[in-house]
């Protein structure tokens, strides 16, 4: 964008950019450094030895995987239905979904609290999975429908002419061709499910059902004021997402960017 002619200007811009980045790295540095003070690596050994830890991990994986599966299936089927099939009052249904795009999850708190307890879903992963999926589906349907709209109708007509069922059209045309948009949906849903705090906080009171985002608070209770252990636990919880992002950098950036441009 900018044209930088002189060597001096180049160096100045490089320094400016580095200065801007420092505050972004600083909290991460504090986190790692704090987790290694006091007993050093011993902090990690103590945190990793806490028997509940694997359960927190497993619960987070379960919640994320189930949410992604539900969102994927629902949004793909719906995108195909909205885009290529006949639905009476189609746009009304579509707008009902779109209206839910801006819904803040905290609004769901009171009704879900009453409903989950009466349905016996309290302390089960479903109390978290279903609301997150419900909140993610509208947007997933929106971007998936836009994508399927771009697939020519002739493809489906030709398949039908050859005697393919509607499901085959979905299975052999929609599923393979929508891969790029599916990647975005996966990333968005993963981040939404993995990082969610409010729903697990309210609906997962039982220790054996809790997810990773509740871990630092759990350790605040467990190790009272030993901040080094709390920070070690924060590093451990942050690590999977950091690794996922670093290895799939472009995918994450594109996916989350798609999510911003509703």
């Amino acid at each position: 964008m900018f044209e930088i002619r002189t060597r001096r200007a180049k160096i100045v811009l490089q320094i400016v950019m580095t200065l801007i980045v420092i505050p972004f790295v600083f909290p991460l540095w504090v986190m790692v450094q704090g987790s290694l003070s006091g007993q050093g690596w011993e902090n990690y050994a103590i945190v990793l030895a806490v028997p509940e830890l694997p359960q927190f991990f497993l619960n987070s994986i379960l919640v994320a995987a189930a949410t992604i599966a539900i969102v994927y299936v629902c949004s793909m089927l719906a995108a195909f239905g909205f885009s290529k099939l006949r639905v009476r009052g189609k746009e009304i249904y579509f707008w009902m979904l779109i209206l839910a795009l801006t819904l803040p999850e905290v609004v769901l708190l009171t009704p879900l609290f009453a409903t989950t307890s009466s349905l016996g879903l309290f302390n089960t992963p479903w109390a978290v999975i279903l609301p997150i999926a419900a909140l993610q589906i509208p947007f997933a349907v929106l971007i998936a429908r836009n994508f399927v709209d771009g697939i020519p109708d002739e493809l489906f007509d030709a398949a039908r002419l050859d005697g393919a069922s509607t499901f085959s059209g979905f299975r052999y045309i929609v599923v393979p061709l929508t891969r790029p948009i599916v990647a975005a949906i996966f990333v968005l849903t993963f981040i939404a499910a993995w990082n969610n705090y409010l729903l697990p906080l309210v609906f997962l009171q039982d220790l054996s059902s809790q997810t990773l985002t509740l871990l630092p608070q759990f350790f605040v209770g467990r190790f009272s004021d030993d901040q080094t252990k709390v920070l070690a636990s924060a590093v451990i919880s942050a690590l999977p997402v950091i690794i996922a992002y670093l290895s799939l950098q472009r995918l994450f950036e594109r996916g989350l960017a798609a999510g911003a441009l509703k």
Binding site: F2, I4, Q14, I20, F26, L109, L135, N195, L261
Partner: protein
């Protein structure tokens, strides 16, 4: 749906219903399609079903005086809403939300545009900068909260840094004072979300025609002039989208104020999210929380409507 598609459509495959319509080709084509309702049903049940049920239920609860568990709640009509409008905490939360939106959006936009321009200018190690700025976007606020609580504590690293820079006289217990707690939460939010603004601006700037930039440069336009007259108008669509995202984000704010300051001190960092949470769970004023929830929902819809219109008029 073009004329082409109607000519390729096999006439034999159309059900008898299609014959009744005297309409044009596209219409007949649609009639011949399989019914899509079963396909959209799962999404409608999980999403529309759960969300609209919840909203309806919240609307009903908001007319009750109820603790959430007692078997016979008392109906109070619209009293909860009357109570809400005279509740100073509600107005504090609203004021905080507006301030929060204005500051975080302003700073994130400025930083995002600036970083995007710099990284489009053949700077070295661009990928490293890009990853470091974007990384906070993927980290859960809940995981980072203990870190920020420590950094901004009276004996925390932020005051250490100030001392190191020779600004030790500015050191203070940032989270323990009404005047500084909200700005700290803004700083945390800016830290978290600037990466997203940056990535979006970076992508939008890639779409700007490089010939226009070159023409401007040949005409002697300075870098600053190009930024103001070509780049900034060129990314307007992104700016409006981000304004909407920030506004909705400010309305939704919960994790950071809840975990870092608990809405305090003295409600200085109260947001609608923390307000609803406290009223509904610890205080068990479920009916009142329902009324706040409905207000929050209305605000979110109004916000989306305003920005949506703005964007549509922009696209036209």
């Amino acid at each position: 749906m073009t004329a082409m598609s109607t000519t390729t459509r096999p006439g034999a495959a159309s059900p008898p219903k299609a014959g009744k319509t005297s309409g044009g080709g596209p219409r007949r084509r649609r009639r011949s399609l399989p019914n899509g309702l079963p396909w959209i049903l799962p999404a409608l049940i999980v999403s529309v079903g759960l969300l609209y049920y919840s909203i309806g239920y919240t609307g009903y609860i908001s007319t009750l005086k109820w603790d959430g568990t007692s078997p016979n709640p008392e109906s109070v009509g619209l009293d909860n809403y009357g109570l809400l409008f005279t509740d100073p905490i509600f107005w504090t939360a609203l004021r905080n939300t507006v301030l929060f939106f204005l500051v975080t959006f302003g700073v994130q936009t400025a930083l995002g545009v600036f970083c995007a321009v710099l990284l489009h200018s053949r700077i070295r190690l661009a990928v490293v900068y890009r990853v470091l700025i974007f990384l906070p976007v993927v980290l859960a606020p809940a995981i980072m909260a203990p870190v920020f609580r420590q950094i901004y504590a009276a004996g925390g690293q932020f005051n250490d840094v100030l001392g190191f820079l020779g600004l030790g006289f500015l050191a203070q217990p940032w989270l323990a004072q009404s005047s500084t707690a909200l700005p700290v939460l803004m700083a945390i939010t800016i830290w978290q979300w600037t990466g997203l603004n940056f990535i979006l601006y970076f992508a939008a700037m890639g779409q700007i025609d490089s010939e226009i930039l070159e023409a401007a440069r040949i005409d002697g336009a300075s870098n600053w002039r190009i930024l103001v007259s070509i780049i900034w108008p060129g990314v307007r669509g992104t700016t409006i989208a981000l304004a909407m995202l920030s506004a909705i984000g400010a309305l939704k704010t919960f994790d950071i104020p809840y975990l870092v300051t608990l809405g305090g001190p003295n409600f200085a960092t109260e947001f609608l999210g923390t307000f609803i949470y406290r009223e509904s769970i610890p205080l068990a004023h479920v009916g009142y929380a329902g009324a706040i929830s409905i207000m929050l929902l209305l605000l979110a819809i109004v916000m989306a409507f305003i920005f949506g219109r703005r964007r549509n008029s922009e696209e036209r």
